[in-house]
């Protein structure tokens, strides 16, 4: 009998639960995540506030639901931009090679050499903060790593016999790149996308923690952590709960990518 792929199973389950959480958060939260209730400052666990309230009397559970969603949007957008640009850059440079390849890859290296946080900071100081700018900033910082992976896979695949035989059937370059080669790049790309997603979650948390990501009063996991740091001893659950959510989100996706690697 085939050995069970526990990584994939647990990772998938965890990510599934988190995704459910996020989807619910988009449409329904028990209280408004931004409504302040002076009477409920630092309220404990009750039927009304499942996880208690923060220093403004906002319901932590609702904020976590909403915050997961925001973090997810930022991470998803980042990875989407990174992957799409990465696929295009990687495909063209890897398939054609030559001078264009050299130039683009050196630019790539230059971007890669910058710490992504620093790059995003520069971007934010130029164009201002906020959810959508941070997506763009992180997205650009994520392009090089995806471009590299796609490029190396394209270089590996372009000399395969099936690519030759596709060319021999008269297929054009674009068709060969995106119909014949791209599916073969996918297995490697998917697991790196999952890892990239983790990094994006952590980067978003970092950005929001520094105060340049998602802007108050909107909730995001990183924002909640940064707000909680002043009350770390008086109300540890305020920091612990969003932190736990970040850990679970990252753990689910990295287990899944580990499991997918095993499947391959």
């Amino acid at each position: 009998m085939k050995k069970k792929n526990w990584n994939l199973l647990i990772g998938g389950l965890l990510s599934g639960i988190m995704l459910l959480f996020i989807v619910v958060g988009f449409f329904y939260t028990p209280c408004s995540p931004e409504a302040m209730d002076n009477a409920a400052k630092f309220a404990g666990v009750s039927a009304k506030h499942l996880m208690g309230c923060d220093h403004f009397g906002r319901d932590i559970f609702s904020r976590i639901l909403k915050g997961c969603g925001n973090t997810f949007i930022v991470a998803f957008g980042t990875v989407l931009i990174g992957t799409l640009c990465g696929i295009f850059l990687g495909a063209f440079t890897g398939y054609y090679g030559g001078v264009l390849d050299e130039i683009l890859m050196r630019v790539n290296d230059a971007v890669f050499a910058f710490p992504s946080i620093l790059l995003a900071l520069v971007f934010v100081s130029l164009f201002g903060g906020g959810k959508y700018n941070i997506i763009l900033a992180l997205g650009i910082a994520f392009v090089p790593s995806f471009a590299r992976i796609v490029r190396s896979e394209f270089i590996r695949c372009k000399n395969m016999d099936y690519v030759k035989s596709a060319r021999l059937m008269g297929a054009g370059d674009l068709r060969i790149m995106f119909v014949h080669i791209l599916p073969n790049v996918m297995p490697v790309l998917v697991s790196s996308v999952l890892i990239g997603f983790n990094n994006a979650v952590l980067a978003e948390a970092g950005m929001s923690y520094l105060g340049i990501g998602v802007q108050p009063p909107e909730a995001s996991l990183g924002r909640m952590l940064s707000e909680a740091q002043s009350y770390l001893f008086s109300k540890p659950s305020m920091a612990f709960l969003p932190g736990l959510m970040i850990v679970l989100l990252v753990l689910g996706f990295s287990l899944m990518s580990e499991g997918l690697k095993r499947e391959r």
Binding site: D161, Y162, R167, L168, M169, G172, N184, M186
Partner: protein, 322 residues
């Protein structure tokens, strides 16, 4: 004779003396002689050219990826009539595969220089634009590779891959393509073509995959099929079947086959004419039986000598049975 000019056949140089033609292209010679008495010589040569499917003239291929250029093919001349089976034989590195790739139009690396002419039905495919070449590739020229393991895309269904050439060169509908794909799969002697159509390459054995490759190559009824050591990765019984299949296809569809191999015995089974290559040079050319009977070059003799003989086959079988 006007149709010849209209069909865009270029004014030829003389395709060679009667004597050389008699050896290599009996059909062309017969045509020339039958028309010679009635038409001026130039026109007769045009007809010869019309019969000629492929003409490689003084092909040179050089690599420039090191300090000193390396020559892979040196002044190769080759002629093929429509429907003819020609074998190219030679050891590894003799330039036979490079020639095949050049004829198929697959040598596009920038560090390779190609000189000479490759005329396919009078059109120079070595020096024409890529888009013109693409119209021929898959439609009129098809190729089978050595490794059936890697020559099929592992993530696409077999049927999809057989249909690829049809998708690119014909206006057939989805159903039409499917019907045609099933037809060629059956022609390639694959049992249960429907099942093969819906399976992935890793479901198939090496021999089946090579049959699929042949089917995919034959989908658009090409005029020229280049087979680059198609049987090297297969075991002996499958080799024989594939050779038989190629022979059958050629008889049914009148496809010319350029068969490249290092195995002279296979070439003897399949081909009418053989070219012997060594270190990039064409050193001998002629009808297969003639070359076998009286090889002109020391190298050819050695190649023939290298064919393992199995005279004691019956005896060994006897031993095992005992």
């Amino acid at each position: 004779m006007k149709w010849l000019e209209r069909s865009g056949i270029r004014a030829p140089k003389s395709p060679g003396s009667n004597e050389t033609l008699r050896k290599s292209h009996p059909t062309a010679l017969r045509l020339r002689q039958s028309t010679l008495c009635r038409t001026p010589r130039g026109l007769a040569d045009r007809i010869v050219r019309a019969v000629m499917l492929l003409e490689v003239k003084n092909l040179n291929i050089e690599f420039h990826d090191h300090d000193r250029p390396e020559r892979a093919v040196c002044g190769l001349n080759l002629r093929m009539e429509a429907g003819e089976i020609v074998g190219i034989v030679g050891e590894s590195g003799s330039g036979k595969s490079m020639s095949a790739l050049a004829i198929a139009g697959l040598l596009s690396r920038k560090d390779i220089t190609k000189q000479g002419e490759i005329l396919f039905e009078g059109k120079d495919i070595l020096n024409c634009s890529r888009s013109e070449l693409r119209k021929l590739q898959g439609d009129d020229i098809a190729m089978i590779f050595q490794e059936p393991e890697t020559s099929l895309n592992p993530l696409k269904k077999v049927g999809w891959q057989v249909e690829e050439a049809l998708r690119l060169h014909t206006d057939l509908t989805k159903e039409g393509r499917r019907a045609r794909a099933l037809e060629v799969l059956r022609k390639a002697e694959l049992q249960d073509a429907e099942k093969v159509y819906d399976s992935y390459p890793h479901h198939l054995s090496g021999g089946m995959r090579q049959r699929v490759m042949i089917a995919a190559a034959m989908a658009c009824r090409p005029k020229l099929l280049i087979a680059d050591e198609p049987t090297t990765a297969l075991d002996v019984t499958i080799q024989a079947q594939i050779v038989k299949l190629l022979k059958k296809i050629r008889e049914e569809q009148h496809t010319a086959v350029l068969f490249i191999s290092h195995d002279l015995s296979l070439i003897r089974q399949l081909c009418e004419r053989v070219l012997v290559m060594q270190a990039g040079h064409l050193i001998e050319e002629g009808a297969v039986e003639e070359v076998f009977r009286s090889p002109g070059q020391e190298y050819t003799k050695k190649l023939i000598g290298a064919i393992p003989e199995i005279p004691a086959a019956c005896e060994t079988r006897g031993k095992f049975e005992r």
